[in-house]
């Protein structure tokens, strides 16, 4: 049984724009799946449907055997808590320390009241330091998160996701605002988490060179439809033009 199964998924935004037009694919546990596609093709919308930041308007999403398409309240929070997410703009809490930002990954599994009073258990703190160590930034624990560089912030965001001990990690263009070498460092942490912690990763990416290096499988979206599903090595010249259009030229990132 696949870990995640998406069937005929559609999403229409309140303004009437149909961003996803019937998408189906499966993700097995342990895969590193990369989603590619032009800007506006629906990649972010798709990721947000999977952890249900967005409620799909049609189709089904099955995670670990359970239909999560329209779950609400407690079930929804439990679902989200199993899936970590990182973002293009990191989305750390400004002015708060690195260690606090990491600990906020545990919010979903904590009583709301004690979290608001700031009572994070010592084991949560220990785990946060451990998570920061995994992404190599434990020495910055007490620094304000908004004083870090982009690459460092993204690593803190990864640590925050790790605090969820996630079954799956969603990454929405995690390196789009980083320089090439920082991009590789962030991607290699995702790769490490995928290989060593057995966490399934679904990642939106723009650079095909990164896709070839890290993806075990690729799906491509175009105007809200799935146009490719296969191995990164099968993305030929033809596919490339089909996905990105006639005028596109492949850009390398090393």
């Amino acid at each position: 049984m696949p870990l995640l199964s998406v069937r005929d998924l559609t999403h229409t935004y309140p303004n009437g724009f149909q961003a996803l037009k019937g998408i189906s694919f499966d993700v097995e546990a342990g895969e590193f799946l990369v989603i590619i596609g032009l800007s506006g093709s629906g990649k972010s919308t798709l990721l947000r449907c999977i952890n249900r930041l967005i409620e799909p308007t049609g189709g089904t999403i099955t995670f670990d055997g359970a239909d999560v398409t329209h779950i609400t309240s407690d079930a929804l929070r439990k679902h989200r808590a199993q899936i970590g997410m990182i973002f293009q703009h990191f989305n750390l809490i400004p002015r708060h320390s690195v260690i606090n930002n990491a600990m906020y990954g545990a919010l979903g599994s904590m009583p709301a009241f004690s979290s608001i009073l700031g009572r994070f258990a010592t084991d949560i703190r220990t785990r946060a330091i451990e998570a920061l160590r995994i992404v190599g930034i434990a020495e910055k624990s007490d620094v304000r998160a908004d004083t870090l560089s982009g690459g460092q912030q993204q690593r803190v965001a990864i640590a925050r996701a790790l605090m969820q001990t996630p079954r799956m990690l969603l990454a929405d263009e995690p390196v789009a605002s980083l320089d090439p070498s920082t991009s590789h460092s962030v991607m290699s942490y995702l790769d490490k988490i995928n290989n060593e912690m057995d966490t399934t990763v679904i990642c939106n990416l723009h650079f095909l060179s990164l896709v070839r290096q890290y993806a075990t499988r690729v799906i491509a979206l175009k105007n809200g439809e799935l146009v490719f599903n296969g191995s990164p090595h099968d993305i030929t010249e033809q596919w490339f033009t089909a996905i990105y259009g006639e005028d596109a030229v492949e850009v390398e990132i090393r």
Binding site: A81, F87, H89, N91, I93, Y104, A106, A112, R160
Partner: protein, 333 residues
């Protein structure tokens, strides 16, 4: 709906113009007191309003239509709109001049200027015997404002979240609460603190407590609005990120929204306290205690030298607080 609103506007405007002419301008031109309000006056006003609105309806051009953004046909109709506009404006200026008793003669008459000289002279030669009483009244005023702010801040903080669209838009129930709360706050805010002070001075008796309650109401209404607008302005990214961890609604508010708001909230709050000190002074005039009450007492006794002392003190304190609060807000940025 827009059409209905535009007709209502035209009817009201027409009635105003005709009423001004019939009740104010004509009697004053004839140099008589306005005649008793009769059913004849009533019908003239209603008739005028109807005529005014029908011009708009028939020609598809009127100020109401302009205001509600309805289409106005090109050409002749545009001139109708501007004619109606000029008529309304001139009538209101002439009527307003008469109603407010504007009188350049009195402003510049010898006797008038003598009076002005007397009062300015008195104000400029303050009587410092009252300084002790004035200072303790000033302390009362400052702390009335301070306590009002202290009481209002937690209330505003709690209310500002249900009053923010982005927090409440997730469900129809939430939207309803948002709309109702915003409406109540707007009404509360449109009632001037001086009116609340009159109400509370009857309720709890004349004194600083009445003044404080009046300020609390106004401060809650104003701060809640400012706070909630700030909340609507926050960056969505952290909200998404905290939601994605499985956090519940309160955790999202506390960990993703509040950290983005504390500094602006502080800044609004300090500014409010500053405003409240000015308002506490005014509220004193109608029984809110403190320096304002003292001022009305001396003014009632026509002891303008003492009034002068109080005015100097008030100006100094307000100016000092203004400078301090501006500095602090600057530093917070």
């Amino acid at each position: 709906m827009k059409k209905l609103i535009s007709i209502v506007i035209d009817v009201l405007l027409g009635a105003t113009v005709v009423a001004l002419v019939e009740r104010v301008i004509v009697p004053s031109l004839m140099d008589v007191k306005p005649w008793a309000f009769s059913s004849l006056s009533m019908s003239i006003i209603i008739g005028g309003a109807v005529v005014w609105a029908s011009i708009g309806l028939l020609r598809g051009a009127s100020l109401g239509r302009l205001y509600t953004g309805l289409d106005i046909p090109e050409g002749a109709s545009r001139t109708i709109v501007s004619h109606l506009g000029w008529i309304a404006l001139t009538t209101c200026i002439i009527g307003g001049w008469i109603i407010t008793d504007i009188s350049p003669v009195e402003f510049l008459s010898g006797e008038g200027l003598q009076g002005a000289g007397r009062i300015f002279g008195a104000l400029l030669t303050p009587e410092f015997d009252v300084i002790g009483a004035a200072l303790s009244a000033m302390v009362v005023t400052i702390f009335t404002a301070f306590m009002a702010t202290v009481v209002a801040v937690p209330l505003s903080f709690v209310l500002s979240f249900p009053a923010a669209r982005n927090v409440m838009a997730t469900s129809p129930m939430g939207k309803t609460i948002y709309v109702v709360l915003r409406a109540i706050l707007n009404i509360m805010r449109s009632m001037e603190p001086i009116i609340w002070a009159i109400i509370f001075s009857v309720w709890v008796g004349i004194g600083p407590f009445a003044g404080m309650l009046a300020l609390v109401i106004h401060t809650v209404a104003s701060l809640t609005k400012q706070y909630s607008e700030q909340i609507e302005d926050v960056n969505d990214g952290p909200i998404e990120a905290i939601s994605a961890t499985g956090a519940n609604r309160f955790q999202v508010i506390w960990f993703a929204i509040v950290p983005q708001c504390v500094i602006p909230f502080l800044s609004f709050t300090i500014y409010r306290w500053d405003i409240n000190v000015r308002m506490a002074t005014i509220i004193g005039f109608v029984g809110g205690g403190g320096i304002g009450t003292l001022l009305t007492q001396y003014q009632g006794l026509a002891r303008y030298h003492e009034v002068g002392t109080l005015v100097i003190l008030i100006t100094a304190v307000v100016w000092t607080l203004d400078v301090i609060s501006a500095r602090v807000r600057e530093a917070l940025r």
